[in-house]
């Protein structure tokens, strides 16, 4: 049991960074990690290899992110209906510490950020990434292609913000 805790502790920074890439906001990122840990502890993993455990945790975290996001988006739509506001701005903290690379990354859509983080930052295999995102391997490949192209265009400054909405 404590062995499991130690494994979790080791993976904690990775989990937090993945959550940050998803939420783009430190405090909600940690909320997400907390929820993920609670789930993980309640489910009692029998994952031995660290890589396996990491993909499993990432999957839980991503699932939770998507679920809460769906709720939030529904709420945002409602809010938009009443207030006429449409976009919630990225957090000031994150923007301040962000460099231009991060700004471009933050503009990608949720799935693209999740995938690029898993593959390019964490070095997960395509198969593991498919497990985390709960999509077929083929979808991972086509998404990766689109994500990389979008990021490239953003870095080259070819796309302005309004066009990005269409990309989503």
């Amino acid at each position: 049991m404590n062995d499991f805790d130690d494994q979790l502790r080791t993976l904690l920074p990775r989990l937090r960074r993945f959550a940050l890439s998803l939420t783009r906001e430190p405090s909600s990122a940690d909320d997400l990690v907390q929820g993920c840990l609670e789930k993980a502890l309640s489910r009692r993993a029998d994952k031995n290899a660290e890589g396996e455990l990491r993909a499993w945790l990432f999957q839980i975290l991503y699932r939770q992110f998507i679920d809460s996001h769906r709720r939030a988006r529904r709420y945002a739509r409602l809010l938009e209906f009443f207030t006429g506001r449409d976009d919630y701005p990225p957090s000031a903290e994150r923007t301040v510490m962000a460099q231009s690379a991060l700004q471009a990354f933050d503009r990608l859509n949720d799935e693209q950020r999740a995938l690029l983080h898993a593959v390019a930052v964490e070095g997960l295999s395509y198969k593991e990434a498919a497990q985390v995102l709960q999509v077929p391997l083929g979808t991972v490949m086509s998404r990766l292609s689109r994500a990389r192209q979008a990021l490239r265009l953003l870095h080259e400054g070819e796309i302005q913000r309004p066009a990005l909405r269409i990309l989503k």
Binding site: P13, Q34, E38, L41, S42, A101, L116, A120, S145, L151
Partner: protein, 241 residues
């Protein structure tokens, strides 16, 4: 083994270091003579490096709440709270069942008035819905809920003043209990509720249950009771009825 020219999949696999060394070698040779694809791959590599340096190296502030042992403890705590709530619910259902059974016909009249006294007057379990301030009177408050009911008894001569009131719900309908108190802290309650679906009216009567005595009767539209400790009732409250 990849085939040349490479698919886009192969190019991504190259960027993500997912090709075998031999394939890697072949692809690099091919890219050397295909500058357009080479530039594309280089761009992707640059982006990936940038993301790694920015995302994987970002400093994280300490957050002790995320330590597994802290998470475990919170889970345990929540589980206990959940058990507590479940127990409270069971208790409430049990009280309701006993109360409901007590209110059946055949049960001693105005048992609920005695229960209300025990619960609210003796034990001060719940705060009053209405507290009597200086110059206040309970009567208007009561009239809001019970139309054309008998007037509150004046217990002044026995030394009791109304201090507060509480609404209750019973099987027979909404009830109210008015609490009287004298200088020594003795308490008497006046209880009013509808006769219920059976419209069961009570012959005037009085009975004792433990330390308490209940005087009950039916009046305009409602059943009434005055509940008092036996020694107070013995002295006579001189209830003008």
């Amino acid at each position: 083994m990849i085939t040349l020219p490479p698919t886009e999949h192969d190019l991504h696999a190259y960027v993500d270091l997912r090709l075998s060394p031999a394939d890697r070698q072949r692809l690099e040779t091919w890219l050397a003579s295909h500058p357009e694809e080479a530039a594309q791959v280089k761009g992707w590599q640059k982006d990936a490096r940038l993301l790694r340096s920015v995302l994987a190296a970002s400093p994280l502030p300490d957050n002790p709440a995320l330590d597994p042992s802290a998470v475990r403890q919170r889970r345990r705590h929540r589980y206990q709270q959940y058990l507590g709530r479940a127990a409270a619910l069971v208790l409430a259902v049990a009280v309701g069942a006993v109360g409901g059974w007590q209110a059946r016909p055949g049960v001693a009249p105005m048992t609920d008035a005695l229960q209300a006294y025990r619960l609210f007057a003796e034990k001060d379990v719940l705060p009053a819905d209405f507290k009597v301030g200086a110059g206040d009177s309970v009567q208007p408050w009561l009239d809001r809920y019970f139309r054309d009911a008998a007037r509150l008894p004046d217990l002044e001569r026995a030394g009791f003043k109304a201090v507060g009131a509480r609404l209750l719900s019973t099987d027979q309908g909404p009830a109210a209990m008015v609490l009287y108190q004298d200088d020594r802290g003795a308490r008497v309650t006046f209880y009013i509720r509808p006769p219920g679906p059976g419209n069961k009216l009570l012959p005037r009567g009085s009975r004792r249950e433990g330390e308490l005595q209940a005087d009950y009767w039916s009046g305009p539209g409602y059943n009434y009771a005055v509940v008092a400790p036996v020694e107070v009732a013995m002295k006579g409250l001189q209830i003008p009825l």
